[in-house]
Amino acid sequence: MTETSREAVIRCDGIWKIFGEKSRQAMDAVLKQGLSKEEIRDRFDCVVGVRDASFSVGRGEIFCIMGLSGSGKSTLIRHINRLIEPTAGSVFIEGQNVNAMSAKELRALRAQKIGMVFQNMALMPHRTVRDNVVFSLEVRGIDEAERVRVAKRAIDAVDLTGWDQKYPDELSGGMQQRVGLARAIAADPTILLMDEPFSALDPLIRRQLQTTFMELSAELHKTTVFITHDLDEAIRIGDRIAIMKDGVLVQIGTPEEIVTEPADDYVADFVAGISKLDLVTAARVMQPFAQYRQMNGDGDPAHWPVARPEDKLNALVDLAIGTDHPILVKADGANVGVVTKKALLRGIQGREDAAMEVA
């Protein structure tokens, strides 16, 4: 909801991908009769990879797609640069229909506008770090001097200065994925597609790479689709998160929306273990000021600690520790709401009814 005002850089409209020889017939049958995944498998011997996925990503936004392995994330992201043809639906990049592009236009799009990072790095073992990083420039016929310049900038950006003449197998896994990242940003693309880029790495290294990525991202403002099977990573990195299950996007929303208003039991199970402290805002747990007044009548808000609606639970806890009063929520100078101790505790627990409970 926060992104609708932004210009959509990537827009996917009703993407379906059915794998198999009879995918067309399966697709027709699905549209007419609405078959389930199992029925499609049994009747047409086809696998449904993606089922009617629609979403758009605004300029500069980081859009996370989260789901368990086999849920169709890799299949979906490969539609954006048309490494996979959809069975139905289309993809638009900055208003241009990717599925209507000629082979030449598509190559130009891939080389200049889209950078991609892969879970298994997919570096070319016979090329040095530098030649890997500027591969997309080389295939466009850009001259050596320019390539050297661009490679240096990209390699410096991922903290690999001095490693440009090494071969991938001389680098650790984390460093290899830094090369992958450098290769993706080298051509200064508009869009980054990241397919579980850090999943194969050790937790500590993963954390370092997340940090590098977020610093880069803050600096470069690339429109990013980021795939992960780790909800913590999605929450840490994403502006918005889409939850994917069996090829279907079951919910799309901000991290706070996903955590506080899970669309179904599946999402609820996922978010159950997530700490709400840095996600949930005062606006979500507060009781409207008028309602509080009506129920409690007395009390002088002058001595109460004051918070803003967008303050996170963590900040509210700090405020609540020094006082016995409830917390007053003010926006633009007006009293908009009250967070009682009870509502705060319920909010930390992640109970939806936090604000509605009578103090």
């Binding site: 190559r107 891939r110 997919a122 570096l123 070319m124 591969f135 295939v139 597609l193």
Partner: protein
């Protein structure tokens, strides 16, 4: 056909004669009839082989020996170079005529292998890319490798006549399959995610072929080349039956005269040549980085020269 014999259900084969040999013998007539048409092509290849042989014979043995040792050093390192040097010296002292005979054989082998590469590499790439082509060519390759050489010796001679060109053709028939097979295997063995990455960064199909697939398949392709060279060498005795000169011919003649000594000399010459070519091509197959340096021009005699030039400049 076999009208006189009564048909027996338990042994139908001896009473039915489809006359396969009589019909296929027509290939000989066809070959003889088309001799004229083939002559210009034959002339071209004959010239090529003669020129290669003349070049090899023109170089004084000691200079050729040094050249081969340098190539071995560059391709496979110092130890192989020493082995190659020892082998070549032994070859030279085997018999006063051995060196010259070996060069003749080498010329035939080189011609055959060049043609094998020209034919086999594209076929192998195609087979690596297309399952249908692979399925179609596989039985052909099996046939080429298993059919006894004597079967195609006659039609080839009828069509082209005895001599070097026929020798090269029968050698190719036998030596080509491993190159096609291993090229296909090498292309199929390339990590698909690397190819996908190349596609994702905007490479054309040709660029994917030459910048990703072929370089990554090179070690396997070179293993195929090594096999092809070895099989070419193993054909030299059979090729000498259709009047190809060289070491093979020595063995054949010695056999005719039951001259064990001469046969051993010719045979050893072939073995030594095989060892030399095998070690050099195997060295090519292993990447330079596996032997601890990054680029081929940083090692071996070239590395030495480059180092000297850089050291001065």
């Amino acid at each position: 056909m076999a009208e006189d014999k009564t048909f027996n259900w338990l042994d139908p084969f001896s009473s039915v004669d489809l006359d396969v040999d009589g019909r296929t013998d027509g290939i000989k007539q066809w070959a003889i009839a088309n001799r004229e048409a083939i002559q210009p092509i034959k002339g071209f290849f004959d010239g090529l082989i003669i020129r290669i042989e003349a070049a090899l014979q023109a170089v004084p043995p000691v200079i050729m020996l040094v050249l081969l040792v340098l190539i071995a050093w560059q391709a496979a390192g110092r130890r192989v170079a020493i082995l190659v040097a020892a082998c070549l010296v032994a070859l030279g002292f085997l018999d006063p005529a051995a060196w010259s005979l070996a060069m003749t054989t080498l010329a035939i082998v080189i011609s055959s292998v060049i043609l094998c590469v020209i034919i086999g590499l594209p076929l192998g790439i195609l087979a690596g890319k297309s399952d249908r082509f692979e399925a179609a060519i596989r039985p052909v390759l099996d046939t080429m490798q298993t059919i006894p050489a004597f079967v195609y010796l006659v039609p080839v001679v009828m069509l082209i006549g005895i001599g070097n060109v026929s020798g090269v053709i029968v050698t190719i028939i036998f030596a080509l399959p491993p190159l096609v097979r291993l090229t296909s295997l090498g292309i199929r063995g390339v990590n698909p995610s690397v190819v996908e990455a190349a596609r994702a960064f905007g490479a054309t199909p040709n660029q994917i072929m030459f910048k990703v697939e072929l370089p990554l398949a090179t070690p396997t392709i070179l293993a195929g080349l090594n096999q092809t060279i070895m099989l070419s060498l193993s054909m030299v005795v059979i090729a000498s039956m259709i009047s190809v000169k060289g070491l093979g011919n020595e063995v054949l003649r010695a056999m005719g005269r039951l001259d064990a000594g001469k046969a051993i000399v010719g045979g050893l010459g072939i073995v030594i040549l095989a060892i030399v070519l095998d070690r050099i091509t195997q060295g090519l197959g292993r990447s330079g980085r596996a032997r601890g340096h990054r680029h081929w021009w940083q090692a071996g005699p070239v590395g030495l020269v480059v180092g000297l030039v850089k050291g001065r400049g």
